[in-house]
Amino acid sequence: MITNRTNGRFENALRSGKFVVTAEISPPDSADPHDVLKAAQVLGRYADALNVTDGSGANCHISSVAACTILSNAGYEVIFQMSCRDRNRIAMQAELLGASALGLHNVLCLTGDDVTAGDHPQAKRVFDFDSTQLLQTARIMRDDGMFLSGRKLSAKPRFFLGGADNPFVEPFEFRPLRLAKKIQAGAEFFQSQYCFDVERLKSHMQKVRDLGLHEKAFILIGVGPLRSEKTAEFMRTKVPGVYVPDAIVERMRKTPVQGKRAEGIKICVEIIRQVREIQGVAGIHMMAYKQEEAGAEILDEVDLNIKEMMR
């Protein structure tokens, strides 16, 4: 935690101790760079860094490294997401070097959703690495200046490495220990899956603190608005690894149609307020796919609360 890896805005914000906001953007299905910039427009104003997904949900989009570069050139701080689903170790290490050369130093290492989740279920799943092995490889490249094969690099890449955390699905007891493994491999920040169950998060974070992991890595908790009970139902049945408790689905269902959007925002704000209070949480990660405006309203509202608290 002492070495500053990149001196980038994201890492500096985390190390300054402020409550950090990252936001996920979806790279468009387009070869026009303006479409990438458009995707970042709304949440880019609020976030300390923007995550650019890498074929999220196993769907085809413009590549993460390309979208990251476009955004980075436009002045945004980005987190390059890299999944193990589509590339073998040769392509992975090549991409890591390329990313660092392009100035993309924040890398979130993911296993990746399975090919069957997306629009090309016929595809070959690669998974030559798992996320932990990808972290370890990136760290070896950075610290030892060599490929996994032992072949020397003429210039070491710079990385601030992160991993994913999902406290909301089984095996619950193993999840904090998995973080420990990822930290050992090189993770210095974590971004979690959507949190709709604060109690579950609290017990997870208790174990994380018991292991002292919150002092070794920054933990950001995933949040996002629900649009309706239908989205909630979709997310918990169709999006891998998302848990939405019945109580929240019920709350959305009981709200009249014209109030649903506001209710979704309200729920998210409530969750963020509770998450902020948990010791060891370094920030939030806003995921508001196709609801960027709602995401922005939430961050506005939360910001307002900070100002109120300071008064």
């Binding site: 296993t111 959703d113 996320s131 092995q133 490929f147 996994l148 220990l177 998995r178 918990r236 690894g241």
Partner: protein, 165 residues
């Protein structure tokens, strides 16, 4: 589930059997040496496939990680994960990809807790699979050839040898 499959729910017995098999192999080493490991590998492939296939649904990856993974074969995971579960596990603890199957890692973790000898090995960081070992005898690979083909930088970094001490 067949009777042999059901053995998987007794990981504390399996790990002892594993330990025992390893000892037997060490004792038989002079024979394998005389035979040459290449030949020994060829001889053992089929029995290994049948034996481990029946109990663990072995996929013959050639680098058995069973005692690192609660005596549960990680090759049964559609993503072949060796270091823990992915984030896609279903709420009932079933697999993201195959909804009819329990997550390999949910089972592995439960079983590792029952294991006295190798239980804590589930926290060891495992290297990526060596695709060249596919289809070969893991017994010969692990017991005698050690992990000579583990990525060089990984070996330097962790000092971990994929052996069973």
């Amino acid at each position: 589930m067949t009777l042999l499959n059901r053995l998987r729910d007794y990981p504390h017995i399996l790990e002892v059997a594993y330990q025992f098999t390893e000892k037997v192999f060490q004792l038989l080493n002079p024979i394998f040496q005389r035979l040459g490991y290449e030949w020994a590998d060829k001889l053992l492939r089929l029995p290994e496939k049948i034996g481990k296939g029946a109990v663990f649904n072995c996929q013959m990856c050639g680098q058995c990680a069973l005692h690192f993974t609660g005596m549960t074969c990680p090759m049964g995971c559609p993503k072949n994960l060796r270091n823990g579960p992915c984030g896609g596990v279903r709420l009932n603890g079933f697999c993201e990809v195959d909804a009819t199957k329990k997550c390999v890692w949910v089972e592995a973790f439960e079983r590792s807790k029952k294991m006295r000898v190798y239980g804590a090995d589930i926290y060891v960081l495992l290297p990526p699979l060596n695709q060249q070992n596919m289809g070969r005898s893991a017994f010969i690979n692990i017991a005698f050839l050690k992990n000579s083909e583990m990525p060089e930088a990984w070996q330097m970094e962790t000092g971990l040898r994929h052996d069973h001490k």
